[in-house]
C-alpha cells in the first residue's frame, strides 16, 4: 500500500501513514483554509487501509494546535478508524497543555476506540 506523506507547513500538519513500517501519525498545527479538502486524502487512505489493515494499529495524534474546522475533520478521521480492528489512539499533548488534553478526552468520548494519553 502506498505511503501517504504530507510535509507540515505553518497552517497544515505533518502526516505520515505507512502501513508497511507501522507508522501512522498526524502532528503539528492544523488550521488549513479548507479543512475538508486537506483531510480528504487522509480519509481515503484510511478507507483503503481498513480493507487490509495490520493486526494492530497505533495511530498517533501529536498536535500542537488545531482550529475548530479541523476538529470536525479529526472526528471524521477517528470515526473512520473506529471500524478498524486492533485500533488504538495515542493522543499526545504538551505537559502543560490542558486544553489539548481535554480535547483528546472529548474525542475519546465521541468514538469507541481505546485512547492512551501521553505527554511530550
Amino acid at each position: 500500500m502506498e505511503i501517504l506523506n504530507l510535509e507540515g507547513a505553518e497552517d497544515t500538519p505533518k502526516i505520515i501513514l505507512d502501513k508497511k513500517n507501522g507508522i501512522f501519525e498526524i502532528s503539528g498545527r492544523s488550521l488549513p483554509e479548507d479543512s475538508a479538502e486537506f483531510y480528504r486524502p487522509v480519509l481515503e487512505w484510511i478507507e483503503k487501509y481498513g480493507s487490509d489493515a495490520n493486526p494492530s494499529t497505533e495511530f498517533v495524534f501529536k498536535l500542537e494546535y488545531f482550529n475548530t474546522a479541523s476538529s470536525k475533520l479529526i472526528l471524521d478521521v477517528l470515526s473512520a478508524l473506529e471500524d478498524i480492528k486492533g485500533m488504538k489512539i495515542l493522543w499526545y499533548f504538551h505537559e502543560d497543555d490542558e486544553d489539548m488534553e481535554e480535547a483528546g478526552q472529548e474525542f475519546s468520548e465521541l468514538v469507541e476506540i481505546p485512547f492512551e494519553f501521553k505527554t511530550y
Partner: protein, 182 residues
C-alpha cells in the same frame, strides 16, 4: 497629519499591540498570527496563555475570512474588516469588526447570547453536540468558532452591532483571555 499622532495615542491608551485593517485571507491570517506570536514570544508570555490567545485569534480571523459580508455601497465593494489585539495588565483582548448584512444580525445575536448563557459544562455539551451533528459548510466552517472562543477565554463574549447603513451593521466582537492562570 495630526491624525497619525491621534491614532498612535489611541493605540497607546487602548493598549493595542496589533491593529490590522484590510482584506482578510488565509495568507493575511498567517502573517497576522506570526506577528502576534513573535510579540507574545518576545514578551516571554506563559505558554498556556499564548496558546489560548493564538486559539482565539485563529477563530476570530477565520470567522472574518469566511463570514464577513461584502459591503456593497453603490459602486463600491469592499471586504474591509478590522482586527485588533490589546494587552492589558491582567488580560489580552482579541477584537474584530466586520460588516454584516442587517438581515443576518438577529440570528448571530441569538447564537452569541445563547453561548453567553452557558457555563463551562454547558459550553462543553454544546461543543460536543455541534461537532457530532455538523457538516463542514460550503464556507468551510464547522459552526464551532464562537463556542471555542468562549471556552478558551473562560469569559463572556462581548459584542455589539452598530449601524453602518440601511443594509449593514458592523459586527464588533471582543474576547478576553485572562493572563493569570486560573
Amino acid at each position: 497629519m495630526n491624525f497619525i499622532y491621534d491614532l498612535h495615542r489611541t493605540m497607546m491608551s487602548q493598549k493595542l499591540i496589533l491593529v490590522y485593517q484590510g482584506d482578510f485571507t488565509q495568507e493575511s491570517t498567517k502573517s497576522i498570527l506570526s506577528m502576534a506570536e513573535r510579540n507574545l514570544d518576545s514578551s516571554g508570555e506563559e505558554s498556556n496563555i499564548k496558546r489560548k490567545v493564538f486559539n482565539v485569534m485563529v477563530e476570530a480571523l477565520q470567522n472574518i475570512v469566511k463570514h464577513s459580508d461584502e459591503l456593497v455601497d453603490g459602486q463600491m465593494r469592499s471586504h474591509a474588516a478590522i482586527f485588533l489585539i490589546g494587552k492589558e495588565a491582567n488580560r489580552y483582548c482579541i477584537m474584530s469588526g466586520n460588516p454584516i448584512q442587517k438581515k443576518n444580525v438577529e440570528s448571530l445575536n441569538k447564537k452569541l447570547e445563547h453561548i453567553n448563557s452557558l457555563d463551562k459544562d454547558g459550553l462543553k455539551d454544546l461543543y460536543k453536540e455541534i461537532i457530532k451533528n455538523t457538516t463542514i459548510s460550503d464556507k468551510g466552517g464547522a459552526g464551532l468558532g464562537f463556542v471555542d472562543m468562549a471556552r478558551k477565554s473562560g469569559e463572556k463574549l462581548e459584542f455589539s452591532f452598530p449601524e453602518m447603513s440601511a443594509d449593514y451593521c458592523f459586527f464588533c466582537l471582543k474576547v478576553n483571555v485572562p493572563r493569570e492562570a486560573e
